[in-house]
Assembly symmetry: C2
Homo-oligomer: 371 residues x 2
């Protein structure tokens, strides 16, 4: 996912590029499934299009083949991810492709899932269908890095957004709500929320800021789908009067461990779902619990404590910094509590900048871990 550039520019084939764009329509709603887009082409004309919208719903190939109908026979199918060859919640797509008689299948990326890998493409070839792969699978891997991260690491892809002053502080005073960025930063926050499966905060952010964590327009009106809300509450639960517990802005999940069961029962009674995990497993354990619940990717809007714990635990896959053009001074709380990334007297950067952009006077820089 990119904020300031089109990730599809690297896709040479125009039908695969179209399939990629279709897949994007499922962003935020397909978990625990991947994003998938598909087009069916007959005589150079697109006769069917589809994308996967949510788990349990039809796969992208089925939607596209349904639209194509009889025109699929002898046609060419383009799909961002290798078609499945196993029974999940729905029957294998490979069977449907063969039944509908497509003559060629072009695939964006291989399915790394051990149930599937190699299976779909090989089964199609064995049945006489011509199978091709995209020259460069990377755009498709980037599109599904949430799903891939959950499969490979057993935790969601963790994107962290932080708003900072020019001198690198996330707030003007400790444990007090303060607005740092302006309209541009707000727009970036809403864009990130609209594209994520779940938005995740620490319980102290809930207690200090009482955020809604919903997607809203410039007039504060709800806009489209809001993500699942997740509160990381290691040792205490949010007050039941807080918006994430009692408002109508969407479902909330509390990930907790060591708090008294009676407090957990209170928030559960208020309509919030609670997931327990073992305290000893720490933040990594909390994120594993989120993944086990079927969440491919989270947007963490964190205060300094949660941010520092994620950084120290090497649990950040992408960091989005939104910087505003003012100074906080040295009395403001620091962003990071922990050891320097140092090599002798010098900084030894562990992240690198991948993208930058302007947002109405605020600056956005996007960072990824060096490998």
């Amino acid at each position: 996912m990119t904020l300031f550039s089109d990730p599809a520019v690297g896709i040479a084939d125009p039908y695969l590029r179209r399939a990629f764009a279709l897949a994007e329509r499922g962003r935020g709603t397909t978990s625990p499934n991947p994003l998938v887009g598909c087009v069916v082409v007959r005589d150079g004309e697109i006769v069917g299009e589809g994308f996967h919208e949510r788990a349990g719903g039809p796969h992208a190939e089925v939607v596209a083949l349904d639209e194509a109908g009889e025109r699929a026979r002898g046609g060419d199918l383009y799909v961002t991810l290798e078609p499945c060859n196993h029974f999940g919640r729905t029957p294998p797509c490979v069977d449907r492709l063969l039944a509908d008689g497509v003559s060629s299948v072009t695939i964006g990326m291989r399915d790394p899932d051990t149930n599937v890998s190699g299976g779909g493409a090989e089964a199609l070839e064995a049945a006489g269908v011509q199978v091709r792969f995209a020259e460069d699978p990377r755009p498709f891997e980037v599109q599904n890095e949430g799903w891939l991260t959950r499969i490979r690491l057993g935790r969601p892809f963790v994107r962290v957004k932080v708003a900072l002053t020019l001198d690198g502080r996330p707030a003007l005073a400790a444990r007090r709500r303060s607005r740092i960025t302006g309209a541009g930063g707000r727009r970036i926050t809403m864009l990130l929320r609209s594209r994520t499966t779940a938005v995740c905060v620490g319980v102290s952010t809930v207690q200090i800021d009482d955020p809604e964590l919903t997607v809203r327009d410039a007039d504060e009106q709800p806009q489209g789908r809001s993500p699942q809300r997740i509160v990381l509450a290691r040792t205490c639960v949010p007050d039941t009067r807080m918006k994430v517990v009692c408002d109508s802005g969407g479902s909330t999940l509390v990930i907790s461990d060591a708090v008294p069961e009676s407090a957990l029962a209170d928030v559960e009674r208020a309509g919030v779902r609670v997931l327990r995990y073992a305290y000893a497993e720490g933040l990594a354990g909390a994120l594993r619990a989120v993944a086990t619940d079927g969440v491919n990717d989270v947007l963490v809007e964190s205060g300094p404590s949660l941010f520092s714990a994620l950084w120290r635990g090497r649990l950040i896959d992408e960091l989005v910094l939104v910087t505003a053009g003012g100074m906080s001074g040295n009395a403001a709380p620091p962003l990071f509590l922990g050891q320097a990334d140092a090599e002798g007297a010098d900084l030894a950067p562990v992240f690198y900048a991948v993208e930058t952009g302007l947002a109405d006077g605020d600056a956005v820089t996007v960072w990824r871990p060096r490998v």
Copy 2:
């Protein structure tokens, strides 16, 4: 001056755009004069080109007309700045334009200098030459913002470059040299130095980092022109063993006030020029002394003390932040010592982001004061 975009894109006329590019060749060497570029066109063909290289040298118009020779007669002249109509170190350009018989003059921007303003264009028109102005003077004003700032405010245009960690710290430990940014940040520093008239540091940076402040290539070899070096030394002078005093990397100017005359005499004997100013005038007074010495623009590579003084004094015209992808932790020194830019509990930004870009894993954000 921009780092990541072409400032000439807003210039509709192709000959004025060419004149703009020619003027850029004088960047860093024309002080106290402006950058000026000129082309002479005859029958749709460029027959003469010129730019102003240094004070005392020929003006851009003269260079272009010399090249055009007899072909200038009846031709069209394009110049980024209104031709002068007064005797300075050289005779008035207007006289030369009339003598060479150009039939039209197209001007990027008016000369705001009271000796000149209105004079050049009006004198040409009075002599029967057709005079036109660029639809939008802004690109030309931006090109000469150093010169314009010196004329309007009596101080140089102040561009400040700071290297920061992700958590906003300029160093890992106080009063100790530490490298923050990588090859990308270094490249940006060298680019900024190559484009500035003078590079300016506080005396404490000289004592801690012992920098050369020269333009060097990736192998540390000198590359092209290095800027004038300026040390702001309010209360003490640099040690005479420091590179800016004793190496061959270029001339150095020490701006000082309250230090003992004997110490100033020592650095003067070492080949450094000393400018005195009144201590009571503070940093603004030091910058006025720099402007009076004929410097249109400075690049300040500052530590936290000088940076904070410039910020508090509203003396920064452009801030270039180069950020590297690592944390320093809260034991590192802060960038800014002073009051927060706040409005109640919220940040009230006084700068806005104008440009961002990537530099080999480092991120560059460029900021300007809100007006």
